[in-house]
């Protein structure tokens, strides 16, 4: 078996947003290529282009040195390309064996040969034998399985087509170490069989364990490629970080925010646990803009939802000095908490209803029975002025607004209630640059007025530019707390990848002279060894672990 795939100068746009501007990747038989990049650098888009889920806008794909065009996943699959998707491609209501063999069910006389399906499923499941809690039964419904077993099924599904090229897109994210070990043994055997593997991962340790070569994406551009053994973790992180950071939008606004050590504590959380959260502690003062960072899906969303009473949790939450346990969002709202949810179209807005109605939704009670529509309109137009909402009129549906203006409405609907604590779930996702700047000014103003804000963002620049303090989440806990000097982009990325406070400090891109080995000499290192740039002997500021 031999295969080689090259992506040359791939371009992909989504509307006005450029996801990939010049992406390149080469992968050949018998090797593992790590595709690396920060959040939103285009890794997933590139892998989706290779497997035909997304069609490229420019550039070229070469398979075995011949140009190919994948117009759908079917074409790519026929060419022997299989993918283990980060967001699993399993049908929840179907069984394990039905999922694994979907579209390639062994047939006998035109009908699906169930006996054969079952047999071959058992063979595949045996590859991961002993690494899962319940025996993976071919007839189990996928919906009922825990995340790690779903992930295993996803791997087996890709494997079942005996592909030549396998893309592992964050395939290890929900596996435990034993399962990862088994997967890597499989990867090693695939290499021997002459299969090619593209390994998309955030986990540096794993990348160094199995990858032969790397390719780094930054803002949709391939900025470096080479052999793993010729590069250090620190240099890799350096490649991922942009050297001249474009902070033109996010002006260092945090100077505007006043120091707030003497403000009273608005929110205190201790040992908060949900399915995803494994004990989160934090403290938030009035007038503070506290950032939450980390890779996607490390529990940030759960944290915000739990604090808003939208998710069952255990642990103690103290709001304004009063111990609370919210079971419903309504209770949280009554205590002056507001949430700007992650999916504004689905969770934050009544899309087809008017701006007025959306702004008034949480506050109708203020306007009496029967409603004083005139007064409500007055209040709504005041809010929309404050938000600098660009609209045709309050009666227009929210769907007529641009993404950024729609997001302003989500915040605006809470402003009428004067929230004491604002929870933001990646609020600037899909918002244009100009509106972002207005949005930041709004946040700064709210902070000045004493609102406490908990701000999760997938955009590192934002966290760096706006926040005094950033909590980096990893695998359901707050892995490190960055503030002051330690709040740098490279520290943020390193911490996202699982490094703890102790091993962070200096910006690796500017510290080329430091030797990598110095990390070992770092006696103050307490917790899990940080993968990314260490080499600084300053004592850790404070660990949240």
């Amino acid at each position: 078996m031999s295969v080689s795939l090259s992506a040359r100068n791939v371009v992909k746009r989504y509307g006005g947003v450029v996801a990939l501007s010049d992406a390149n990747l080469d992968v050949h038989s018998g090797e593992v290529v790590a595709l690396i990049g920060a959040n939103g650098s285009g890794k997933s888009t590139l892998s989706k282009i290779i497997n035909g889920v997304v069609v490229l806008d420019g550039g070229q794909l070469l398979l075995d040195d011949k140009p190919v065009h994948f117009s759908s996943p079917q074409t790519a699959k026929q060419m022997g390309i299989a993918t283990v998707f980060q967001e699993l491609s399993l049908i929840p209501q179907m069984t394990v064996s039905e999922n694994i063999w979907l579209t390639r069910e062994p047939l006998r006389g035109g009908l699906v040969d169930h006996k054969n399906v079952r047999l071959r499923t058992e063979e595949l499941v045996a590859l991961f034998e002993g690494t899962h809690k319940f025996s993976l039964h071919p007839d189990s419904t996928v919906d009922a399985l825990p995340p790690d077993e779903k992930q295993i099924i996803e791997v087996l599904k890709a494997l079942s087509s005996d592909p030549r090229l396998i893309i592992l897109d964050e395939a290890t994210a929900s596996l435990d170490s034993r399962q990862v070990q088994r997967l890597f043994e499989l990867v090693a055997s695939w290499k021997q069989q002459g299969k090619a593997v593209v390994f998309v991962s955030h986990r540096m340790e794993e990348i160094f364990r199995i990858a032969d070569r790397f390719s780094v994406l930054r803002n949709g551009k391939t900025v470096g490629a080479g052999l793993m053994k010729e590069i250090t973790e620190r240099e890799l992180v350096g490649l991922m970080v942009e050297k001249a950071t474009a902070t033109s939008v996010v002006q260092r606004q945090r100077q505007v925010l006043k120091k707030n050590g003497d403000q009273k504590i608005r929110l205190e959380v201790h040992d908060l646990r949900t399915d995803l959260l494994k004990g989160v502690d934090l403290q938030l003062r009035d007038g503070e803009l506290l950032g939450i960072g980390g890779l996607k899906g490390q529990g940030q969303r759960d944290l915000l939802l739990a604090l808003f009473g939208d998710l069952p949790y255990t642990g103690s939450v103290v709001v304004s000095g009063e111990a609370v346990h919210f079971k419903l969002p309504r209770q949280a709202i009554e205590k002056g908490i507001a949430l700007v949810p992650g999916e504004r179209a689905k969770e934050g807005l009544l899309y087809i209803r008017s701006i007025l109605e959306n702004l008034m939704l949480p506050s109708w009670a203020k306007f009496g029975i029967p409603l004083h529509i005139g007064k409500a309109r007055q209040a709504a137009s005041e809010v929309s002025n404050e938000l600098q909402l660009i609209m045709a009129g309050l009666e227009e549906p929210v769907s007529s607004l641009s993404g950024g203006n729609a997001q302003k409405v989500v915040i605006g609907k809470w402003l009428l209630r004067n929230p004491k604590l604002l929870l933001l779930d990646d609020p600037t996702k899909g918002v244009d640059v100009g509106t972002k700047a207005e949005f930041y000014r709004l946040l700064a103003r709210l902070c000045d007025n004493g609102t406490a804000i908990l701000f999760y963002s997938s955009d590192d620049e934002e966290l760096l530019g706006l926040c005094d303090r950033v909590l980096v989440m990893h695998d359901g806990v707050i892995r490190s707390e960055l503030s002051g000097e330690s709040l740098t982009k490279s520290n943020l990325i390193a911490a996202s990848l699982g490094a703890s406070n102790a091993s962070l400090h200096e910006d690796p891109s500017s510290a080329a002279g430091h030797t990598y080995e110095r990390r070992d000499a770092d006696e103050s290192s307490t917790a899990a060894p940080g993968p990314a740039g260490a080499g600084e002997t300053d004592p850790p500021s404070e660990s949240m672990e």
Binding site: A76, L88, F134
Partner: protein
């Protein structure tokens, strides 16, 4: 852990036996019906019942395929009407056997064409199924009215009585159609297409990423539904022996109700045609019971609706009961996902 195991068992159970509830309901309906009509299972009443139920059973089978694939077809009733109108106007009482065969073939094609129009709008132009088929239902109803402006027309007596009175091996002809539908469904389920159907209805994005031809599958469900509606139209024409352009109007929502009672989830991906067929028969029995129970005419609609509401609510009620008893699992208020408390 216990909790997870419990969940697995329950889900396994309900997913593996989606027909269980509809079967129970059918037996219950039959027992009540037997009480009011002791000769329910005699050859005569079986025949008279089955030939009345059959049109709905046929239409429901097609509707179930669409709903399984994640869509819905509001236009089936109008397709039934078109078929009825065509047959009643084109055949007359003295059509030759060749003409009969030709026209039957033609109406099946018409049904499939109507389904293909729905399918094209929905799967290739990505329009909402409920809106699209609602709109085309008026279009098709209009066509039916155009063909047959006022009730009338006829079909040859011969085929009509063949439908009504033939009893091979002592059982009504119409009763044989049901095993045929079930066998066809069973075979379909054993093909790859059967798997695609559940995959597309279950999670279309994932199915697409797995290289399932999602558009083609969606399209095909509407063609199947159109075909089954045409069969239903033929059955209803043979039953009544005459034509009316509004004859199918009531059948649409009844077929959707039958599908749901039969254990198929309206969101798609769970259930099957067999349950839907049981559901259609159950609904027919409900109607029987009411007419035999000597309820006032104006109560009939009310009682019928009440029975349907109770039947629809029962699985939900069972679930609620289960959750309340099994207090160790808690339901997430908005996503409905179970989480460990």
């Amino acid at each position: 852990m216990n909790n997870v195991l419990n969940r697995m068992r329950w889900q396994y159970f309900t997913l593996r036996n989606p027909y269980l509830f509809s079967l129970l309901l059918l037996v219950l309906a039959m027992l009540v019906n037997l009480f009011f009509q002791p000769d329910l299972l005699s050859r005569g009443s079986l025949n008279s019942n089955m030939r009345v139920f059959l049109p709905l059973v046929l239409v429901t089978a097609g509707q179930a395929v669409v709903i399984l694939g994640g869509g819905i077809d509001i236009s089936v009733g109008s397709i039934v009407s078109i078929v009825n109108a065509i047959l009643a106007t084109q055949l007359g009482s003295n059509a030759s056997p060749e003409k009969i065969a030709l026209m039957l073939g033609a109406v099946l094609l018409v049904g499939m064409a109507a389904g293909a129009i729905n399918g094209f709008f929905i799967s290739y132009l990505r329009l909402q199924p409920i809106i699209t088929t609602y709109a085309t239902s008026f279009l098709y109803a209009g066509v039916a009215l155009f063909i047959l402006p006022s009730p009338g027309g006829a079909v040859p007596n011969g085929i009509s009585s063949f439908y009504r009175e033939t009893t091979p091996l002592g059982l009504p002809l119409t009763l044989y159609v049901i095993p045929l539908i079930l066998i066809a469904w069973y075979l379909l389920r054993q093909t790859r297409y059967g798997g695609y159907l559940y995959a597309v209805g279950g999670k279309a994005d994932a199915a697409y990423e797995t290289a399932v031809p999602v558009n083609a599958v969606q399209f095909s469900t509407y063609v199947i539904s159109g075909l089954m509606a045409a069969f239903g139209g033929i059955a209803i024409t043979l039953l009544t022996g005459s034509g009316s352009a509004t004859i199918g109007a009531d059948i649409t929502l009844t077929s959707i109700t039958a599908v749901v009672i039969g254990g198929t989830a309206l969101r798609g991906g769970v259930g099957g045609v067999a349950g839907a067929v049981l559901g259609a028969i159950t609904l027919g029995l409900f109607k029987n019971i009411i007419s035999f129970a000597n309820v006032n005419l104006w109560w009939q609609t009310f009682v019928n609706a009440a029975i349907i509401v109770v039947a629809l609510a029962a699985p939900g009620a069972i679930n609620l009961l289960r959750r309340t008893i099994g207090s160790r699992t808690r339901q997430h208020p908005t996503t409905g996902q179970e989480r460990q408390a």
